[in-house]
C-alpha cells in the first residue's frame, strides 16, 4: 500500500537522527526565541532576553508538557470514576514551570515541593504509569501506594508534602547538605502563594541567606490559595520581593523558554557562591484547588476560559515552534498521539494493577525493629491484620 506523503515525511523525520542535514528545507534545527520580560529584585541584571532552542529540545519540552497535561486530565477522570479517592490536586496550566525548570536542572539537583506535585513527579523521572498507580493506591505506585497524590517521591525528588510551608525549611536543609558535601548542585524548593505567608518560610529564608545556601526558592503563584485570591491573603503580593535580602526574579511562567532562562540564571547564581535566590513563577491552574473544588466560585468562568485561550503554555509553545519552523505540525500531532497512547496504557495499569500487600499497612514505620527487641511488632494491630499475611 503506498504511503501517504505525510507518512513519508514522518518516516524521514524518524530517520533523521542527530540534528543536521534534513530532507525538508522548511525546518530549522535550532532557533533563537525571545523570553518574556522579567522583573528584578536586588539584582543588577537578569536572565537573557533571547535563547537558542534546538528542535530536539523543542520536541522534548512539548512532549513533556503535553504528557503532564494529559496525565492530569486522566487523573481527573479517574477521580470522577472514584478510582482515585481522597485528595487530588491537578497541575494543568502550570506545565511550563516544571518542564522549563527541569530543562536546566539535572537529576542531581534535588527538588522539593508541596502537594500539587504530579507534574514535578513526572519531570523528575517517574513514569506516568507509576504516578497514576500511586493515585489509585496500587503496589506499582511510586510510593508503593502508601502515599497517594500528595506524597510522590523519586531519586532527588523529596516529594510531595501535605503541610504547606513545611517543605521550605526542608529544602534549605537539603541545600545545606549539598554545600557541606561540596556538591555543585542547587536545591529547588517550591511553595505556593498561600504557603508564602507561613512563618517557617521566612525562617528558611533567613537561614539560607545567613549561610549562603545554594537554594532556589520558587513561589508558584497561581493567583489563588485554594479559593482565596492573593490580594486577600497577602499584604504584599510581590512574592519575588518577599525574600527581602534574598535577590528575586519575577517570571512569566506561562512560557517554557522564559522559565528555562530564569532557571539557568538562578542556577548560575547559586553555584557561583552568591547564596540563595527567589523565583516567583506567575502561573495559572485551570482546575480548582482540588477535585472537590469546581474552581468557579471564586473566579469567573470567563477568566479561566480566557487563560486557556490566550495564555495556555502548550498552545503558545506549539505556535512558537511552528512559526519558528523548528518542528513540523505532523510531528507535533504524532507526539500528541504517542502521549495519548502512553497515558491510556497508564490509566489501564492504574485501574488493574495489584493492590499493595496488607503488610504495607505496618511496614516502614521504622527502618528495622529496635535492636533490643528482636520480636518487636507494631503495637495496636490485632489478628485481623496479622492473619492477613
Amino acid at each position: 500500500m503506498p504511503l501517504s506523503s505525510s507518512a513519508i515525511r514522518a518516516n524521514l523525520l524518524l530517520l533523521r537522527g542527530g540534528g543536521g542535514l534534513f530532507v525538508s528545507s522548511r525546518l530549522a534545527s535550532s532557533a533563537v526565541l525571545s523570553t518574556r520580560p522579567y522583573k528584578l529584585h536586588k539584582l543588577e541584571s537578569g536572565p537573557a532576553s533571547e535563547a537558542q532552542v534546538t528542535s530536539d529540545e523543542a520536541r522534548k519540552y512539548y512532549r513533556d508538557m503535553a504528557t503532564v497535561r494529559r496525565m492530569e486530565t486522566a487523573a481527573g477522570n479517574l477521580y470522577k470514576e472514584k478510582a482515585i479517592r481522597g485528595f487530588c490536586h491537578l497541575y494543568s496550566g502550570q506545565e511550563a514551570c516544571c518542564v522549563g525548570m527541569e530543562a536546566v536542572l539535572d537529576r542531581n539537583d534535588p527538588v522539593i515541593t508541596a502537594y500539587r506535585a504530579h507534574g514535578w513527579t513526572y519531570t523528575r523521572g517517574v513514569p506516568v504509569k507509576a504516578v497514576l498507580s500511586e493515585l489509585t493506591g496500587r503496589a506499582s505506585g511510586c510510593a508503593k501506594g502508601k502515599g497517594g497524590s500528595m506524597h510522590m517521591y523519586n531519586h532527588n525528588f523529596y516529594g510531595g508534602n501535605g503541610i504547606v510551608g513545611a517543605q521550605v525549611p526542608l529544602g534549605a536543609g537539603i541545600a545545606f547538605a549539598q554545600k557541606y558535601r561540596e556538591d555543585k548542585r542547587v536545591c529547588v524548593t517550591l511553595y505556593g502563594d498561600g504557603a508564602a505567608n507561613q512563618g517557617q518560610v521566612f525562617e528558611a529564608f533567613n537561614m539560607a541567606k545567613l549561610w549562603d545556601l545554594p537554594c532556589i526558592f520558587v513561589c508558584e503563584n497561581n493567583k489563588y490559595g485554594m479559593g482565596t485570591a492573593v490580594e486577600r491573603a497577602a499584604a504584599s503580593t510581590a512574592y519575588y520581593t518577599r525574600g527581602d535580602y534574598i535577590p528575586g526574579l519575577w517570571v512569566d511562567a506561562m512560557d517554557v523558554i522564559t522559565v528555562r532562562e530564569a532557571t539557568r540564571f538562578a542556577k548560575d547564581w547559586c553555584l557561583s557562591g552568591k547564596g540563595p535566590i527567589l523565583l516567583e513563577m506567575e502561573t495559572y491552574r485551570y482546575h480548582g484547588h482540588s477535585m472537590s473544588d469546581p474552581g468557579t466560585s471564586y473566579r469567573t468562568r470567563e477568566e479561566v476560559q480566557s487563560m486557556r485561550q490566550m495564555r495556555d503554555p502548550i498552545a503558545s509553545f506549539r505556535q512558537t515552534l511552528l512559526t519558528a519552523e523548528l518542528v513540523a505540525e505532523e510531528e507535533l500531532k504524532e507526539i500528541d498521539q504517542s502521549v495519548r497512547k502512553e497515558v491510556d496504557e497508564a490509566v489501564q495499569a492504574a485501574k488493574t494493577n495489584a493492590v499493595p500487600d496488607p503488610k504495607e499497612l505496618y511496614t516502614n514505620v521504622y527502618s528495622q525493629p529496635p535492636s533490643g527487641q528482636p520480636n518487636y511488632r507494631i503495637r495496636g494491630i490485632d489478628q485481623f491484620t496479622w492473619s492477613a499475611n
Binding site: G148, G165, G194, M226, L361, G380, D382, Q383
Partner: protein, 367 residues
C-alpha cells in the same frame, strides 16, 4: 486466627479478595438520631455542621465582643460551618486569615487575653501542629504563670478531626491525645448535632481556653432536631448512653456510634450486656462516671481511632486500673489505630471497627 476471623464476620483478609470487593471506606456506623430536652424549646432539623453554625450564630448575636476567624471561613468554610455568618454579622466579625496556623492561634490568644470572645478555626486538625507551641506554652499556661492576673479563657479553637474514608495521612488524624497532656486547657469532642451545639456554646462560655474537635465524618451524616435557641451542656461530664451490666465500653466522637453497634452485636451474638459511655470531654475527663461504671461491670473496653501508644485510652486505662482494681474481672482493653501514620490504603484494617471491638469483648468475657 483465620477461623476466629471467619466466625467473627466479614472482614476481607487477603489482598486478592480485597481487590475483588469494593469495600466501603471509613468508619462503619449508622447514626442514631437523639432528641433534645423539650424545655429547650423550638427545634429545627440540623446536621452537625449546621448545629455548629447555629451555635456561632447565637454567640455572635448575644456577645458583641465575639469574632470568628480562620482560613476560608468568610464564604462559609470548607465544611460549611460558618455559612451566612459574614453576611449577617459583617466582615469585621467574621473574617479570613492567611494560611498561618501558628499566627492564627497566637493572634487568637492575644485577642482573648484582651477580653474578647474569640472563636478561631483551624481548617483540619492535621494542620494544628504549627500552632502547638502557642497552645502548649502560651494558652495553657497564661492563667497559672500570671498568678491569675491574666487569662485567655474566652478563646475557643475549633478543628475537624478523624477518619472520613479517604482522608489518608493528613486529613484523618485524631490529635486529642497530644492536647490531653496540657494542663490548663479543655478538650471537647461531640458525638452529634444536639451535643455539638450545646458543647460548643459551653466551650465559648467557658472561662478557660477550649479546644473543640469536630468529627468530620459526622458533619453531614448526623442529623437531628436541634433547639434553635442557645443552650449549654456540661463540660467535664461524660454520658452513659446505654446501661449494661457486663462490659463498659468507652469512646468519644465517631467511635461512640461504632460502639453502639458493638453493644448491639455483643447482646445478639454473645449475650453480653454492655454499658456505653461517651466521654464528651477529654480534658478534664469525668473520672466519677467512668469508675462507677467499671466498678459495676468489672470489664472495660476503650476504643479510639488515634494510635494506641500514648493515646487517650492509655490514660483512661491507667486511671481505671488504679481506681477499680479490686472490681476488675479482666485487664482493661484498648482497641485503637495502629502505631503507624494514618494510612493511605487499607483504612478498614486500621480503624477500630466493630469486629475488632467484638473480638476484644470476647477476650474480656472469656478471661
Amino acid at each position: 486466627c483465620r477461623s476466629l476471623a471467619a466466625r467473627l464476620g466479614p472482614v476481607c483478609l487477603d489482598a486478592a479478595s480485597f481487590s475483588r470487593r469494593r469495600l466501603s471506606f471509613g468508619p462503619q456506623f449508622v447514626y442514631t438520631p437523639e432528641s433534645a430536652d423539650k424545655s429547650l424549646g423550638e427545634t429545627s432539623r440540623m446536621n452537625l455542621f449546621q448545629a455548629v453554625t447555629s451555635a456561632l450564630d447565637n454567640t455572635l448575636a448575644n456577645d458583641p465582643s465575639a469574632v470568628v476567624f480562620g482560613e476560608d471561613v468568610a464564604f462559609g468554610g470548607v465544611f460549611r460551618c460558618t455559612v451566612g455568618l459574614k453576611d449577617k454579622y459583617g466582615k469585621d466579625r467574621v473574617f479570613n486569615t492567611p494560611l498561618s496556623e501558628q499566627g492564627i492561634v497566637g493572634f487568637a490568644i492575644g485577642h482573648a487575653v484582651a477580653g474578647a470572645t474569640t472563636v478561631a478555626e483551624i481548617q483540619f486538625g492535621d494542620y494544628i501542629f504549627p500552632a502547638f507551641d502557642q497552645i502548649a506554652n502560651e494558652a495553657s499556661k497564661y492563667r497559672y504563670r500570671s498568678g491569675n492576673h491574666f487569662n485567655c479563657g474566652s478563646l475557643t479553637v475549633r478543628a475537624p478531626i478523624g477518619a472520613v474514608g479517604h482522608g489518608a495521612l493528613y486529613h484523618s488524624q485524631s490529635p486529642e491525645g497530644f492536647f490531653a497532656h496540657l494542663p490548663g486547657i479543655k478538650v471537647v469532642i461531640p458525638r452529634g448535632p444536639i451535643q455539638a451545639k450545646g458543647l460548643l456554646l459551653a466551650c465559648i462560655n467557658d472561662p478557660d481556653p477550649c479546644f473543640y474537635f469536630e468529627p468530620k465524618i459526622l458533619y453531614r451524616s448526623a442529623v437531628e432536631d436541634v433547639p434553635v435557641n442557645g443552650y449549654v451542656l456540661p463540660i467535664g461530664k461524660a454520658e452513659v448512653l446505654i446501661e449494661g451490666s457486663d462490659v463498659t465500653l468507652i469512646g468519644y466522637g465517631t467511635q461512640v456510634h461504632v460502639l453502639r453497634e458493638v453493644a448491639r452485636l455483643a447482646q445478639s451474638e454473645l449475650g453480653v450486656s454492655c454499658e456505653l459511655i461517651d466521654m464528651r470531654t477529654i480534658l478534664p475527663f469525668d473520672e466519677e462516671t467512668v469508675y462507677a461504671s467499671v466498678c459495676k461491670t468489672g470489664r472495660c473496653l476503650i476504643a479510639h481511632e488515634a494510635p494506641l501508644t500514648g493515646g487517650f485510652g492509655a490514660e483512661l486505662a491507667a486511671s481505671v486500673q488504679e481506681h477499680c482494681f479490686l472490681n476488675l474481672e479482666a485487664p482493661v482493653r484498648r482497641v485503637a489505630g495502629h502505631d503507624t501514620p494514618f494510612p493511605h490504603i487499607f483504612e478498614n484494617f486500621y480503624l477500630p471497627h466493630q469486629r475488632r471491638c467484638l473480638a476484644a469483648i470476647k477476650d474480656l468475657i472469656g478471661y
